[in-house]
């Protein structure tokens, strides 16, 4: 029964994703081969991969913190990534290659993740941890703003594109880096899927069942930091898709088992990414992707909050 439902849902998802991708690259009328190959296609691919990576990160974080509203953006990990990327850009200039920016962003993300991990030990209450994450994000963003003030005009442009979020201006090389980290993040998450299921039932039960909670959390956060780092370095801080992607996947599949949720989150996250990109382009004047993500995501999040009054 459930298997058949999964097949139908996933087939429908792939079909919708294909439609959205097609719409995204054809919107704006005919374009020459160059525009297609160097602007529209990489942009669409980036939107797809970035959305998928954020949703995959979100589904892991929701499990390890047992909080349906957790994702890298709201818990300050994206801010950490932005700080890492900003510091490198400041120190080494914008000439630096994409890979090193992504790496420093991943290190920044891991730093923020480490703080969250430490805090999660102190704040047993899921809501308080969430507030702590939001605060952490604010503080790190403030530091990034201070860096902005003391930077030259060229870096300032890069900084702005981070805070606003954008899928444009990515090269195939950068898209490949996002794809690479997504593959690595997915591999770690897949390896960890049994642990991600188990830890939902609490640390005590996890230990009693023969698994190590800290190892499950570390693997998940490593996967999240890698992916969030690359996405933030090239697209800026993407919010909300990490929260709603996994929720839509779970609601459609009717299961929380990560064997199904992880791949389905890739699909929903990718779909949301492409839709947000499309939405940012259909408006008369182009909108920043962070705003369209918020437009798509926040109603869903409010719905989740209303349905889960214990939060």
């Amino acid at each position: 029964m459930r298997t058949r439902r999964h097949i139908v849902v996933i087939a429908a998802g792939i079909f919708m994703l294909a439609l959205a991708c097609l719409a995204d690259i054809t919107w704006g009328g005919d374009a020459g081969r160059d525009v297609m190959l160097h602007l529209r296609l990489p942009r669409m691919t980036t939107a797809l991969l970035a959305g998928a990576a954020m949703a995959l990160s979100g589904s892991q974080m929701q499990s390890i913190f047992r909080n349906p509203l957790a994702d890298p953006h709201i818990m300050g990990i994206s801010s950490g990534a932005a700080l890492g990327a900003a510091l490198t850009t400041m120190c080494a200039g914008v000439t630096l290659g994409g890979a090193s920016i992504a790496l420093s962003a991943a290190i920044g993300a891991a730093g923020a993740a480490a703080i969250i991990l430490y805090a999660s030990d102190r704040f047993r209450n899921a809501s308080i941890l969430l507030i702590f994450g939001v605060m952490l994000g604010f503080i790190i963003t403030a530091i990034v703003s201070i860096l902005q003030f003391s930077s030259d005009a060229e870096s300032l442009k890069t900084f702005y594109s981070w805070s606003a979020g954008s899928f444009s201006n990515t090269t195939w090389g950068e898209t490949a880096i996002i794809a690479g980290t997504l593959a690595a993040g997915l591999a770690i998450a897949t390896f960890n899927h049994k642990g991600l299921d188990l830890i939902l039932f609490g640390d005590e039960f996890t230990e009693l069942s023969g698994a190590v909670p800290s190892r499950i959390r570390l693997s998940a956060l490593l996967s999240c930091s890698l992916m969030t780092g690359a996405v933030t370095a090239f697209c800026g801080q993407l919010g909300f898709v990490g929260i709603i992607g996994p929720h839509i996947a779970k609601a459609l599949l009717g299961t929380s088992a990560h064997k199904a949720v992880l791949p389905a989150s890739l699909l929903t996250g990718g779909l949301i990414g492409v839709c947000a990109d499309l939405l940012s382009r259909v408006t008369p004047s182009p909108m920043p992707v962070a705003s369209t993500m918020a437009l798509l995501g926040i109603p869903v999040i409010l719905y989740i909050m209303l349905k889960r009054p214990e939060l």
Binding site: M1, K194, S256, K259
Partner: protein
């Protein structure tokens, strides 16, 4: 005499440097249904965790913590597989033999009709039974349950305790230790009692002096 599942010899129970009960020794036999009682903070959970960390005689020891959340999105069968973390393969599947054992365990606890139900829709009593089934699939010879009757209504309390008592009667039965504050109902289900007394004394009683042991947990 039935098979000894665990032999406890001179164990100290406590947390950190504070020792609550010194040099406890006793045996747990197959088919034992032991009620563990004592005031809050008397060390019931600590004692259970200590036993959970032990190696049984050719058998596993499994513990079901209190107030396990009924996470939405797992069927009873999926939940059992999740809790059999060490037994499932990389993709989370059980062997055919274990699948068979799972079916048998659900039958034994009378919840086979619930196997494809989402655990969030179960009553607390039914969920406790699913947890016990999971322990059976893990081939646990000793099953420890931390307050399985807490927050249950009267009907579910009786159902869970009855299930525990039945579990210990059958052939090839495990030993069960459950902690509870429902002394009256618990006493009917058990055949032995461990009482962590208000006087700080560890007491283990058989059928005949259960009453006296239970009395010791109250301050006189």
């Amino acid at each position: 005499m039935s098979r000894i599942m665990i032999h406890i010899d001179g164990m100290n129970i406590g947390h950190g440097k504070k020792i609550l009960y010194e040099k406890i020794s006793f045996d747990i036999h197959a088919g034992d249904c032991i009620m563990l009682c004592g005031a809050n903070g008397s060390g019931k959970t600590t004692l259970m965790k200590a036993i959970a960390g032990m190696q049984g005689n050719d058998c596993r020891v499994s513990m079901i913590p209190s107030r396990l959340p009924k996470v939405k999105g797992f069927t009873v069968k999926e939940f059992v597989k999740v809790s059999c973390f060490r037994q499932t393969d990389m993709s989370g599947k059980l062997t055919e033999q274990d699948e068979y054992n799972l079916e048998k365990a659900l039958e034994r606890l009378g919840i086979v009709h619930l196997k494809d139900r989402d655990i969030s829709t179960l009553s607390d009593g039914e969920f406790q039974k699913a947890c016990i089934a999971a322990s059976l699939v893990q081939k646990a010879g000793v099953i420890l349950l931390d307050e399985p009757t807490a927050f249950l209504d009267a009907e579910n309390k009786t159902a869970v305790l009855q299930a525990l008592s039945n579990l210990c009667k059958g052939e090839d039965s495990p030993a069960v230790i459950f902690s509870t504050h429902d002394l009256h109902e618990g006493m009917k289900a058990c055949n032995r009692v461990i009482a962590l007394g208000a006087d700080g004394v560890f007491r283990l009683a058989g059928r005949d002096d259960i009453d006296k042991a239970v009395q010791s947990i109250f301050r006189q």
